[in-house]
Each structure stands twice: as structure tokens, then as C-alpha cells.
Symmetry: C2
Subunit: 350 residues, 2 copies
DNA sequence: CTGAAAGCGCTAACAT
DNA sequence: ATGTTAGCGCTTTCAG
């Protein structure tokens, strides 16, 4: 059917091995030979059959990026960089949606994709440290996000405790006293990290504010609808919050929606801050203040570390890599509702 | 290294072919035999080596979904369904970002991914009918979106002219007279479809409104920033528009941002409608009226048609398949700024 | 610097 | 109903 190494070899009057070598450059090839071969390649329009190559090499050239959902812009932005980085290193990235389902996450961890991909980048939300420690599969693995840390695997994330603490400190500096946290994961939390909640509590304590459990609302998922529902619940309190720190921007945006529907002014009546700094927040009305992780750095590091493992370069601790973050202050926590085009104030924290 | 067919065959005391048959079910296998084989598979944890399978079959089991950008929620929502559908049909979907670059689109069309994927779903934005007609490559291809139609390839999209016409009619029914269009593609437009613009003009004409070229603004891309910039330009007119029909929701959202920054009220001063019905629009403030394509249908149809081609099922016209759409009327074109939770009025148009 | 040949793991045509 | 075997296209020893 297609053009194979053999056709090129015949056309150029050389052996298979030589063609392979001009394609891959493993061994030096004399200039005149390489010329002839290259010409044959161009004329016949040869492209290597990857299945054959991978069968022979024992690798597929694919890596998987498994995330809770594609439709969360944070992950879409992350994926954009990861795809590029993977391509630059000679790999094709396939996206895998776990749908935040524990069984799917476990199956992935257990190697369900073993013969499909050479390695896996996983953003776990329903499995915890225990499951990762119990893992027997040898498929190279890199974890991202706040889900699981402190395991003998590469793990890339921001310092979630510090980031959350900073968010709360920002609200406190605004003079807010009744600060709520809308966070994800209402299920059985075994060991699964609660870093952002921990940072929130640390921030509250550091400000000398009382611990008010009724101001912490957990949600099942990470979407706008969850943020809205949680906010509506907070607004039924006799003393509703004057500020909200949301687990992520999507939740924050949902919360802002619910607050607006209730006739509240943002930030005057209630200030809102999120995490992720997705573009949507910059265009929201009011625009959303957010902790801004370096998404490109996370994606790049995750891909590189994974490829290192795949290609047998030795893992060198520390496994837990923390990437920098900043804070983008916008209307949802600003005093004046100034024009959008004004310079965005950014504090460097990472 | 890993567990292969051979290991299973030895363990179960059968031939390779038999193991292959219990795995693939091509030929009947006696129940006791199948049992033994299955047990061996379970015990040894066998998973087929896909590279080998694909080398043998001449297919990779991968299909590519090439879209302008991952970070456009419309495509993310589309991709979510496409991935699921592909998996159900035994394929893995890989996302390819063209970045709206003509060379990338051309290369894809020319078969740059030939040996990587079995087929391609492409959402073209920079290439036109001519390029698709000139294509020589045999890689199965399905087109989606308004970019290219009327070519001998499967093409899935809504009726863009009708949809745009409906959007304009909706604004006209609101009593708006100075209706602007913010659309994409400011480049050399050769043959590349301009369906939405055509529908816009038809709507204007049908309402007996004058043709006002200054109310049509083209943008280079499809993002929020483009919508904002275009809107700012429209607001410099001595007679600015009282309504805007945007090429897509992202542009609409950007336009709303710019309008709000200019102190305009939506919809009182200017009504806004988009196309795509992304979730973000439902949570925007005000929420965004939008033409709502059946994204799941588009994704499903595109994948199915592609797999039909890949597996050799004959193409049966019509090539151009139009999927239904509806209109979701929300605050950005509604009179009263009612609560978000109220029922969304939907007209069925598709 | 180049060639010959083995074999990666699987499927399918051909036997039995 | 099951077994045997050729060969998909490539990379990689081992020889020259």
C-alpha cells in the first residue's frame, strides 16, 4: 500500500538500515548516500509508519493528559501548552477525561492505558495518597494539581496552602470580616488533600478572625453551577458573608452570578476571589480577582518530567515541584469599579 | 517484557489464534476454552499491544479532531462528546490545535498526520473550498463548522445562514434598528464561506432596514479580545448600534465587556446576541442570548461518519448534513432583568 | 560507512 | 473449533 522504507531503499539502491539511518540519524551516513536517499524520500513522499516503529521500539509515542473535564478552561489552557510541549519532544498528547470519577481515576492509575500511551499525567480529584502509594503499575506517572502530594512520583503544583492564605489575606486587607470558603469535594475525604481549605483556615486564624464553620461550604464538583448553589446557601444565613474565597474561578463565577441575582453588589456587598486566573474571569462583569498559577510552567514541567521518565532518565528528587503564582487584583475585590482597560495590579508571591 | 498473546497461549495451553479470538471475538470459541483463556488473561493481566495490532491491521485506532483552539469553550464542549463517541466506537481521539494557521490547516489536509491517525475531523477557518477540492490525500476527512461546505466530503454544521437570519429577526422584533455584526475573518476571503454574514444581511434586508457597512466589523480571530476591540470601534461611531449580532459567544462576551466599560446598559442601550450557547454565556452578567447548535449531535455525527469512512462503509450523500439549532433567549436581549433561575425561553428553529 | 537479518506482537489466510 | 504460519514496517544487533 503506502510508501515504506523498502520502497525508498530500492529506489535509492541502498539497504533498509541506511534509509533508517538517514531518517533517524542514529549512525552517520555519507553525504552522497544521504542525498540520494533523501531525494527518494521526497519523490515518493515517505512518512514513517509509526505503528511499526513503536512496535519495534516498545513505545507508542503517545502520552495521556487525564483531567476531570475538558470544559474547565483552566485545563483547556493547560492542555494547550502541554500539547505543544509534547510535540516539541516528539510525542503526541491525548486527552483523557476522568469526569472526576474515582473508578476511572483508579483504572488509569492501574495502567488501563498501558499499551496505548507511554506515560500519564494525571490530575486526581477523587483518589488520594493511599491509592497512589498502593499503585503497582510501572507506567510513568506525573501528578498535577492539589489532589495528591507527598508521594514518590513527580508532582507539579502551586503551593496551594500559601496561595489560599494569600487570597484570604487580600480579603482581610480589604476590611472583610465574614469570609466564606466555597470548596470542592463533599465526599469521603480520606487522605485526599484539602490544601486550599487548610490555607483558608490559616489565613482566617492569622487575621485573628473567629472560625465560623457555617461559612465553609463544600461542593460535589467544580463548576459554575456548584458555585451558584453554594452562594445561594450562604445567602440564607442570618449573617451572610462579606467576602468569598472560591476553590477555583468557575465556582467564583457561579457565586458572583448568584450574588447578582440576589441583588447584591460586588465587591461592595460581597467581594469575590478565585484561583486559576482563566480568561473568562478577566471579561466577567465585574472582572474577577484571582490567584494566577503559572499554567504554562506547570504544563511544561509535567510533560518534561514525564518524558524524562519514559526515556529512562533517572528521577531526581524533589518529587514535589512548586510552580510560582501571582495574584491578579480586579474589580471583584477592588474598591472602585474602574474601567477594565486600566493596568491590572499584580503582586508577585511565588 | 510485558504479557503477550504468547504468554497467555502457553499458560492456557492453546494457540495464539485462539487467544486472539477470545480477545476479539472474530471466530467462535468453545466455552471451556474461552474460560481457561480468560482466566489466564486475568491472572497475568494481559492487555493487547496496540502498536502490533495496528501494524497488522494497517490502522492506528486514532482519529484527530483539529480545531482552531482548545481554549474556545465551544470546541471544548464539542470535544467532550467526540471523545466519548470515539471511545464507544473503539477509537482514541487526539486533539490537534491548528491555531487558525493556514499552513497548519493545509498540512493537515495534505496528510501530515497520515501515519498517526486513521482519519481527521477538521474545523477549517483559514482554508477554503478550493484547497479542499485540490486535496489529493486519501486520509478520511470530515469537515465541521461554517468554514467550508459544498465539497465532496462529509460536512456537519448548522444552517448558518438561517441561524444568523433568525438572530437578526430576534433583534428586529425587539425594535432594534441599528444592528451591527461583529464577525471573524478580516483576511483574504477567497471562497471561504461567509455564511453568517450572508444570513445577517438577509435578515437586515428582510426587515427593510438600510444596509450600513459601517455597522459590520470584521475581526482577525474569534476571541473575547476581538469582540471587545470591535465593540470599542463601533462605539466611536456618531450613531452607535442599538444591537449587536456576534459571530460567536466569545466575541459577544467581549463586546458586552466593552459596552459595560463604556457605561452602556445591556440590553437597554445595546442588545447582544451570539452563536454557540456556551455555558459561560449562561452565567455572564447579563446572561447572553445565543443561537444554540446541537453540539452533541455535531460531534457524534462527525465521529460516526468518519469511522464509517475509515472502516470502508460507502459514503452516501448528502455530504452536507445540517444539525438542528434553537435560540436561547436570555437577559442580553430581554426586556426585564429577571432572575437567572427563571425558565429560559427557547424557540425551536432547526 | 553500509548491509543482512532477526524479531517486536499481532491478525488472518490457510490448514486440520 | 482450533492450530500453524506469514508478514505488517520498522529498529538494531552483528558482520563486513
Amino acid at each position: 500500500m503506502g510508501v515504506s522504507l523498502r520502497s525508498i531503499a530500492e529506489r535509492a539502491g541502498v539497504s533498509l538500515a541506511t534509509v533508517s539511518n538517514v531518517v533517524n540519524g542514529y549512525r552517520p551516513v555519507a553525504e552522497p548516500t544521504r542525498r540520494r536517499v533523501q531525494q527518494a524520500i521526497d519523490e515518493l513522499g515517505y512518512t514513517p509508519n509509526l505503528s511499526a516503529r513503536h512496535l519495534r521500539r516498545g513505545r507508542t509515542g503517545l502520552i495521556a493528559l487525564a483531567i476531570p473535564e475538558l470544559t474547565n478552561p483552566y485545563f483547556a489552557e493547560l492542555a494547550e501548552t502541554a500539547i505543544r510541549e509534547a510535540a516539541a519532544l516528539g510525542y503526541t498528547l491525548v486527552m483523557e477525561s476522568t469526569d472526576a470519577d474515582p473508578d476511572t481515576e483508579l483504572a488509569l492509575l492501574g495502567g488501563s492505558r498501558r499499551h496505548v500511551v507511554d506515560g500519564l499525567i494525571l490530575s486526581p480529584v477523587r483518589i488520594g495518597r493511599a491509592e497512589v502509594l498502593a499503585r503497582r503499575d510501572a507506567l510513568p506517572l506525573v501528578l498535577i494539581g492539589e489532589g495528591v502530594s507527598d508521594v514518590p512520583h513527580d508532582h507539579i503544583a502551586i503551593d496551594n496552602v500559601a496561595a489560599s492564605h494569600a487570597a484570604v489575606a487580600h480579603l482581610v486587607a480589604l476590611g472583610r470580616r465574614r469570609i466564606a470558603f466555597i470548596g470542592a469535594r463533599g465526599h469521603d475525604d480520606r487522605q485526599s488533600a484539602q490544601l486550599r481549605l487548610r490555607g483558608f483556615r490559616a489565613g482566617i486564624a492569622a487575621a485573628g478572625l473567629p472560625d465560623r464553620p457555617e461559612l465553609t461550604v463544600v461542593t460535589d464538583r467544580f463548576g459554575r453551577a456548584d458555585g451558584s448553589a453554594a452562594m445561594r446557601r450562604l445567602l440564607t444565613l442570618t449573617e451572610p458573608p462579606d467576602a468569598v474565597f472560591a476553590y477555583n474561578d468557575l465556582i467564583a463565577l457561579g457565586a458572583m452570578r448568584a450574588a447578582a441575582d440576589a441583588g447584591l453588589r460586588i465587591p461592595q456587598d460581597v467581594a469575590v476571589i478565585g484561583i486559576d486566573d482563566i480568561e473568562e474571569g478577566r471579561y466577567a462583569n465585574p472582572s474577577l480577582t484571582s490567584i494566577s498559577p503559572d499554567k504554562a510552567a506547570i504544563a511544561r514541567l509535567a510533560v518534561r518530567r514525564l518524558v524524562d521518565r519514559i526515556e529512562g532518565r533517572p528521577p531526581r528528587p524533589p518529587y514535589d515541584v512548586q510552580t510560582p503564582f501571582t495574584m491578579a487584583v480586579r474589580q471583584s475585590t477592588a474598591g472602585a469599579r474602574s474601567g477594565f482597560r486600566g493596568p491590572t495590579q499584580v503582586e508577585h508571591l511565588g
